[in-house]
């Protein structure tokens, strides 16, 4: 018993304390959060734009050119693996850019944008058509109706799936090691291969991801509850 306990302490020491290794995890977490956060922001911008493009009406009931462009974007991004997109960005399209973090942000932002687009589009379509008609019948323009009536209601609709997308994104950044970035996953992997003790680094990294995502979930839950005020009966 005593022996097993001291073994665990030793493993913990090797994994986190020796040579201030905990700082490496912290740096790794920093990379993970940085890439995730800015990619999420970029994805939200791209996704919202794509959603509006997909919803734009063409002439005589036909699809608009914007709708068409957005659909091609979605097909390409959703039809290829994120790892490949990242590698293509890093080694081909942005090969002259030296900043790996920036490339990762752009790559994940573009990727996430495709999924966010469908979330936003569904959220807007879920708002009752009568709301738009009422706005327009009062003389409000299309844009004003969108801005003051439809979008505030759509935000409420999209919150749960959007939270889901952020969570997926955060975990998906674990592949940035492919292009040489030292995120949390890569650090854990490196330390486990350097120390020949994989248990603590890998489980430790998993626990850190878990805690971050749990905090995100709680935060989103709070936000959602606050936005439900107008639904109280």
């Amino acid at each position: 018993m005593q022996e097993a306990f001291s073994k665990i302490v030793q493993m913990f020491e090797i994994a986190f304390i020796t040579g201030d290794r905990w700082k490496l995890y912290l740096n790794g977490l920093g990379v993970t959060l940085q890439v995730s956060f800015f990619a999420a922001v970029l994805g939200l911008l791209i996704g919202s734009t794509l959603a509006l493009m997909k919803l734009s009406a063409g002439k005589n009931g036909r699809r608009s050119i914007w709708d068409y462009i957005a659909s091609v974007y979605l097909d390409i991004i959703r039809g290829t693996p994120a790892v490949l997109q990242l590698l293509i960005m890093y080694f081909i399209i942005l090969s002259s850019v030296r900043n790996g973090i920036l490339i990762a942000i752009i790559s994940f932002g573009i990727n996430s944008g495709a999924y966010v687009a469908e979330i936003v589009r569904a959220g807007i379509l879920a708002v009752d058509k009568g709301q738009t008609e009422a706005g327009r019948s009062l003389g409000l323009s299309k844009a004003q109706t969108m801005l003051y009536i439809v979008i505030p209601q759509a935000v409420k609709n999209v919150l749960p799936p959007m939270g889901n997308e952020f969570i997926v994104l955060l975990k998906e950044t674990a592949i940035v090691g492919y292009v040489g970035l030292s995120d949390l996953t890569r650090i854990a992997n490196q330390i486990s291969s350097r120390t020949y003790e994989p248990f603590m680094p890998l489980i430790g990294a998993a626990v850190i991801y878990f805690i971050i995502i749990k905090m995100l979930t709680v935060l989103l839950g709070k936000l959602e509850r606050r936005m439900r005020v107008s639904d109280n009966r």
């Binding site: 709301q131 009422a134 327009r136 019948s137 009062l138 107008s230």
Partner: protein, 241 residues
Amino acid sequence: MITVKNLYKSFNEEIHVLKGIDYHVEQGEKIVIVGPSGSGKSTFLRCLNLLERPSKGEIWFDGDEITAPKANVNHIREHMGMVFQHFNLFSNLTIINNIMLAPIKLKVMSKAEAYENAMKLLQRVGLAEKKDAYPSQLSGGQKQRIAIVRSLAMNPRVMLFDEPTSALDPEMVGEVLEVMKDLAVSGMTMIVVTHEMGFAREVGTKVLFMDEGLIVEENTPTEFFTNPQSDRLKEFLSKVL
């Protein structure tokens, strides 16, 4: 005030809903449109403020052709209030903000003016104490009364009603009709699509009977109900009265 010339509306070039409507509405008239479902009466009403684009024909409003390609649709709609069957109150806004939104955003009134005007309107329909409630907290009848004053807040020259009491529980129909009667007495020009024959008889200056995309018959309420001319109207009245 409103002139409709040879109005056609079809959907997807297949379903022909309106098949040539000509009509003229004078200032202050209360036109009540009745007819079986699918007769095109709602579509006709929705064409008047261009929520539906007519396929063919002209609509003139106060001397302007609103069906002209370059007509400013948003501006025209500011002067035509519309009340819907399903109320369509903005569910993300409180009652007072529902009423104040359009006047403020369209710069018709200052915030203070819009508030004062909204409160006056709320008092008129006896719902002033609900000003900070959200639509989901109101009954159907209350929602529809708010929807009416929301339109009135823009000081429209004509009010369009699209089956305003059809989605209400029976005991709430009265309170909404009461508000509409008051509005009629105040001189508002009104065009009302409804199944409330009592309202048509009492308030209407003219009653129209629509069937299969055409105005089949038009008369004063008394004549309309006591002396129907066409067989189709006779049949319709025998079913609803």
